[in-house]
């Protein structure tokens, strides 16, 4: 299979879906002439023109609301946040409007749209620029929340999200844009269903549930532990709402141990949700309490040595797995 970068995979998804469906358009800050702050939208303006690749004034709440209005009246907007940190000023449009319009209109209106952009810490961009927003948006009924860790998932999930009839919060990895990985040929039109986890590596030693950037720490930990004879089963939920709890519980019943690894803060969020499901549905199968590896509960510092301490590392995954394995 060919290898392309995460960024290119996203771009292909946008290209293909915009070619396929004339109601799809992309809107955001610098998505057109500048081709996106992270160059995801490179070439889109040239191909689709200013009517469908729209550079906006700097107003996240504004263009999020523009998108909601367009979605309610029949288009399929893709709203790019330069980073998800900036979505907080558009919170009301996403949470009180996009997520609720279908329900509050008695099912008479739909809001088929994708909010997308980079999520999580980059490098040394400090507290206001390093949020993992997954816990905020996964709390909201009416939203899908998708967070791909690989180029293949990025493309296949974005294509499905664009075709979805409900609003999707699509969380890209700010540090993953350059990541290379296998992606099917363009003519294959691969659609990856929302709400379905992927078992990225099979094993019987311990289940590690991880998504986004820390998924790669989990995979690295699996390589290392294999040498010690511990075979990790790495499960990437890929969609955080709705969550494929069956896949997670199935894996835990097989391995009898579970570690959850995520970049968001430890209080609540999908990390705690997964632990809750596992203790309720696989209690009798557990040989050890479920461990979590999370960011420490502090706003992200700028200093690189401190930032490195905050984020989940492969070393911390290894420690957690050893703890639940009593090794």
């Amino acid at each position: 299979m060919r290898e392309i970068r995460y960024r290119e995979a996203l771009r292909e998804a946008l290209m293909e879906e915009m070619e396929r469906d004339g109601t799809v358009f992309l809107m955001g800050e610098e998505v057109g002439h500048y081709e996106g702050a992270y160059k995801v939208s490179q070439g889109l303006l040239a191909q689709f023109g200013e009517q469908r690749v729209i550079d906006t004034p700097i107003a996240e709440a504004g263009f999020a609301g523009i998108g909601v209005g367009a979605a309610m009246t029949g288009l399929r907007p893709i709203i790019e946040f330069m980073t998800w940190n900036f979505s907080f000023v558009a919170f009301d449009q996403i949470i009180s409007n996009a997520a609720k319009i279908h329900q509050m209109s008695g099912g008479k209106l739909t809001c088929p749209m994708v909010f997308r952009g980079p999520n999580g810490a980059a490098k040394q961009v400090a507290a206001q620029h390093s949020h993992s927003v997954d816990p905020f948006y996964t709390n909201i009924p009416g939203l899908y929340v998708v967070m791909p860790a690989t180029p293949r998932d990025a493309k296949g999930l974005l294509k499905t999200s664009i075709r979805n009839d409900d609003p999707v919060v699509f969380l890209e990895g700010e540090t993953l844009y350059n990541l290379k990985g296998e992606v099917p040929e363009e003519d294959e039109d691969e659609l990856i269903p929302l709400g379905v986890a992927r078992v990225a590596r099979e094993g019987d030693g311990c289940t590690v549930v991880a998504w986004g950037r820390p998924f790669h720490n989990a995979m690295e930990a699996a390589e290392i532990l294999a040498k010690d004879g511990i075979e990790l089963e790495v499960v990437d939920p890929r969609t955080l709402r709705p969550l494929d709890t069956d896949a997670i519980v199935r894996s835990v019943k097989k391995t009898n141990r579970c570690v959850v690894v995520h970049e968001h803060w430890p209080y609540g969020g999908p990390g705690a949700e997964i632990v809750d499901v596992v203790q309720r549905e696989a209690f009798d199968y557990l040989d050890a309490p479920v461990e979590r590896v999370a960011a420490w509960d502090v706003p992200m510092p700028y200093a690189s040595n401190l930032e490195e301490l905050v984020l989940p590392t492969t070393e911390r995954v290894l420690e957690a797995v050893r703890a639940v394995s009593y090794r």
């Binding site: 709440a61 999020a64 609301g65 909601v68 009246t73 288009l75 008479k108 009416g142």
Partner: protein, 384 residues
């Protein structure tokens, strides 16, 4: 801010049309307070349309009285009447075509009635029962009707305005000739969404008409404390949009201005911002007591400018209305409203089964599981 109605003067709707006075600072008016029309500006409407406008205004006035009464009797949880502000929504309803969209604020639900939304369905939204197309999910006075292209406003003030601009951009994208009306109150012009909507409207020039109903009070905060601008309409200038200030208690004036703005939008000439100067005669909502923050003299002065009475004086002076017609119309409307309320109050409450519907286009597995859990409860919840 000076008393906007103290020295009313006619001004052109289109900038530079005639008199040279800035339409954002003056006050466009067709009907003087005594009900006489300024002939040169009167819209060309026949007796039938004029009577229909009056009928809709009176219908809403009577309906609001009934609904406030039912709220006081504990039959309805909440209600926000539009008494004193009927002119703008009714005029707006008459200025639109079927394909146009409305993104209202709190006091424009009645546009739906003008555009043919059935009265019983409308009242059912106040009760949130099984006859409510919104399935009991929305607060009263947040009505919407997909059938008449009207969405609901958001309880957080302002979001509907960028949405209106977005819907207009979508119409432009599709290349159809739909126009979108977006409404906001004077208070919510302080919200960031107002700025965003005005700015995007100015930059992208979609077929949208943004209307501020300046009723002088944002619950207890007077409009003077909301802005230091000379008028609300003049704010449009900074966004590169024509701004027009109209007497919002003059149904013919608001009709004329909205109609012109809608025409401009439909012809591709871009957005207009309209300030309709009016007054909230009643409370903000059933949860508010306005005697705590404003004087009876002030309210009484505005009662003298009442849009319904003013229009009635006009219709009588033109020979379109007399005592007999007026009385029979009121009796007919009272009977219609009473019958509709009786019908709605007999409707059952929303079915428990609807609880998990429409959260998503397709019900996901985790909601099915929660539904099963709820059903398994003994005794079954949610039934009377």
């Amino acid at each position: 801010m000076p008393d906007p109605l103290r020295d009313p003067a006619p001004v052109p709707v289109r900038p530079g049309e005639t008199t040279g006075e800035d339409p954002a600072l003056g006050l466009f008016q067709v009907l003087r307070e005594d009900g006489r029309a300024r002939g040169e500006w009167a819209p060309d409407l026949g007796a039938k349309t004029l009577r229909a406008m009056f009928r809709h205004m009176l219908r809403v006035r009577l309906l609001d009285e009934r609904m406030m009464m039912r709220q006081r009797q504990g039959k309805v949880g909440f209600y926000g009447a539009i008494t004193g502000q009927e002119a703008t929504p009714i005029a707006a309803g008459f200025a639109l075509k079927t394909q146009d969209w409305v993104f209202p604020a709190l006091r424009e639900s009645a546009i739906m009635l003008v555009r043919g939304f059935p009265l019983t369905r409308y009242i059912a939204q106040v009760y949130g029962n099984a006859g409510d197309v919104l399935k009991g999910r929305q607060m009263p006075s947040h009505m919407s009707g997909r059938a008449v292209n009207q969405v609901a406003w958001s309880s957080c003030l302002g979001p509907q305005l960028p949405q209106a601009v977005g819907a207009a951009m979508a119409a432009k994208h599709r290349g159809d000739d739909a126009v979108v009306l977006g409404f906001i109150g004077d208070g919510a012009t302080s919200e960031p969404d107002f700025h965003a909507a005005m700015n995007f409207a100015g930059v992208f020039k979609p077929p949208v008409v943004l209307i501020c109903q300046n009723n002088h009070w944002a619950i207890s905060v007077p409009s003077e404390k909301q802005t230091a601008s000379a008028t609300f309409a003049v704010k449009a200038r900074a966004y590169g949009i024509p701004g027009v200030r109209v007497d919002g208690n003059d149904v013919l004036g608001t009709y004329r201005v909205i109609k012109e703005a809608v025409l401009r939008a439909r012809e591709g000439e871009g957005p207009t911002f309209i300030e309709a100067v009016t007054y909230r005669i009643g409370a903000h909502s059933s949860s508010d007591d306005p005697t705590r923050y404003r004087s009876e003299e002030e309210v009484e002065a505005w009662r003298q400018k009442d849009p319904l009475q003013r229009f009635e004086r006009f219709l009588r002076s033109e020979g379109h209305l007399d005592d007999g017609l007026r009385d029979s119309l009121e009796a007919e409307l009272e009977a219609e409203i009473k019958a509709a309320i009786t019908e709605v109050e007999a409707m059952p409450r929303p079915a428990t089964e609807t609880l998990f519907e429409d959260v998503y286009a397709d019900v996901p597995w985790h909601l099915r599981a929660q539904e099963d859990e709820l059903r398994a409860a003994d005794p079954p919840p949610g039934h009377d």
